[in-house]
């Protein structure tokens, strides 16, 4: 499978603390990569470094063989990154449709066409009937879907999902899992940080396990869940 995204030797330091140490990953189109690890393992930091929202100490990132290491976050978006935020960040003063419209305007300049694109994305995530509602009024599950819609409306090649399953009730979780699978079915490369193992095991083609900023295991979901170092990292040792 040809690589869409490659990150080599990513290291992030905060002062004297190394939050992510020399982690590499690669991702092909239609592939789902799960990033797991105990709290404080550096998952979100790695995620932010790759998407350009946290400064890197060293490492190299390529998107479709183009070096994007030095590019700011918004330029990475323009080249094909879409991301959600762990704590949903809708533009609260605006309606649901306007929220997605902002993202749609990245690829479409004309308002009527951008609105059409935004509406089709809202239909895809099941929020079309809420389009005219203020974003502030959405409940958690719908805010998650709005985050997804915003990430999809930039027409990304790689989508980064930061704990979009957390806190969802079982039916909403099932829907979300099915939805993420459909994204990879459309050829999108998916990188997801997730705590819900059910989702990771069902969806991931490949899993990377982080602990204390280091990659301690990688492989298929099956392989990593049996890995002793992983069990140790999650449960601790006596």
């Amino acid at each position: 499978m040809p690589n869409v995204l490659r990150a080599d030797g990513i290291t992030v330091k905060f002062g004297g603390v190394t939050a992510v140490n020399n982690v590499s990953l690669s991702l092909g189109s239609g592939e789902i990569l799960g990033l797991i690890g105990p709290n404080g393992a550096g998952k979100t930091t790695l995620f932010n470094a790759v998407t350009g929202f946290a400064p890197m100490h060293s490492g190299r990132i390529t998107l479709l063989d183009k070096d994007i290491t030095a590019l700011p976050a918004f330029k990475r978006t323009r080249l094909g990154f879409g991301r959600t935020f762990q704590t949903e960040r809708p533009f609260e003063e605006l309606t649901v449709l306007e929220n997605v419209l902002i993202a749609a305007f990245l690829t479409v300049g004309r308002r009527s066409e951008a609105e059409r694109l935004a509406m089709s994305v809202l239909e895809q995530v099941g929020l079309a009937d809420r389009a005219r509602q203020p974003a502030l009024d959405l409940n958690l599950a719908r805010r998650r879907r709005l985050e997804l819609a915003k990430a999809l409306a930039v027409k990304p090649k790689v989508i980064f999902l930061d704990e979009i399953m957390a806190g969802l009730n079982p039916p909403a979780l099932r829907e979300m899992i099915a939805f993420v699978r459909s994204l990879s079915g459309q050829g999108l490369a998916v990188l997801m940080v997730e705590h819900i193992m059910e989702a990771i095991i069902e969806l991931s083609d490949h899993v990377i396990v982080l602990a204390s900023g280091e990659k301690i295991a990688e492989g298929t979901p099956h392989q990593v869940t049996r890995n002793e170092r992983v069990i140790e990292a999650y449960l601790g040792t006596d």
Binding site: T51, T77, F91, L94, L101, I102, L106, G109, V154
Partner: protein
């Protein structure tokens, strides 16, 4: 969109008829219109983009001085000097924004106070150009198509055209991609970047356009005053008044700044004539009431209630 265009039509219709109906109240109307235009320009940056400037007097002064100096020293007609003022204001805004927009928090606002102060000192000290502390006087003006630009009626129509052009600009921008980029940056810069928006570039564009528009109004103000003194035109009070007009009327709304101008400048005039020395007190109380009870400003609060009502109705039905 349509209702805003109708609003603009009403403004123009009332405006065109105004001098014939109230020929003795032109000066106050000119003030209201100029403040409406300035506050709306300010709001492009302060309301729609969330970057509060306390230095917009800089651009008013720049426009006024360029028109006055151009006329008195170089015999340049105001329309040329106003175009120059818009360009100079945009360049000044670019340089200032480039230095300060990487700072998050209140630093941009604080730094804008300094711009007007620097320009004031330049105006006082570069006497050969600006007439120093005594100021510049416009003694003659060209008469395009036989119109006397010193007449209050002509000045009223210039102020009306200025306010209408600025409001029309906001109406267009509010619906366009740029308007949404402005709001996205105001609401959340990280989220904006995730949508591919460059926050700094967006703020720079907003600041430049806001400054250019303000300076054109400043040029008209120069003609209205005919006598420009540095401590009046570059005063912090003027910068604060422009910001307050927009904030009280309603930040980030199309008509808020214009309504603010009508209330503040109109009321200010009534207070001044009725309450004499007590007028600043009442002005202060008015600001306090708005900040405490109508934090979104007059139009902002009305718009919000309207949306809530519509939405509640739909949720019931």
């Amino acid at each position: 969109m349509t209702k805003h265009l109708i609003g603009l039509g009403v403004l123009l219709a009332v405006g065109i008829a105004y001098p014939a109906i109230f020929p003795n109240n032109l000066t106050i109307a000119i003030s209201v219109l100029l403040f409406a235009g300035w506050a709306t320009s300010w709001d492009l940056l302060g309301g729609w983009n969330g970057q509060v400037s306390l230095g917009h007097a800089s651009f008013v002064g720049l426009g006024a001085y360029l028109v006055a100096i151009g006329q008195s020293q170089f015999g340049l007609a105001p329309w040329w000097t106003m175009a120059m003022a818009a360009a100079v204001a945009a360049v000044l805004a670019y340089l200032w924004g480039w230095l300060t927009f990487s700072l998050r928090g209140p630093y941009f606002s604080l730094s804008t106070i300094a711009v007007a102060e620097i320009l004031r000192l330049v105006a006082i000290n570069e006497e050969w150009l600006t007439g120093g502390a005594t100021g510049v006087f416009i003694a003659t003006l060209p008469e395009p198509f036989g119109v006397d630009l010193f007449s209050r009626t002509a000045q009223f129509y210039m102020a009306l055209a200025f306010a209408a052009v600025v409001i029309a600009t906001i109406i267009v921008i509010s619906r366009a991609r740029f308007g949404y980029q402005l709001r996205a940056v105001r609401e959340d810069e990280d989220s904006a970047m995730a949508a591919g928006i460059d926050p700094t570039a967006t703020k720079l564009k907003a600041f430049m356009l806001s400054a250019a528009l303000t300076s054109i109004g400043g040029g008209i103000y120069g003609i209205v005053l005919a006598f420009i003194e540095p401590h009046v035109i570059f005063a912090l009070l003027l910068s604060v008044q422009i910001a307050l007009t927009a904030i009280i009327g309603g930040r980030g709304t199309i008509w808020g700044p214009a309504v603010g101008a009508l209330v503040l400048i109109g009321a200010g005039e009534i207070f001044r004539t009725t309450f004499a020395e007590a007028n600043m007190l009442i002005y202060g109380i008015l600001i306090l009431v708005v900040v405490l009870f109508v934090p979104r400003g007059i139009v902002g609060e009305l718009a919000r209630r309207h949306i809530r009502r519509l939405y509640a109705k739909r949720a019931q039905g």
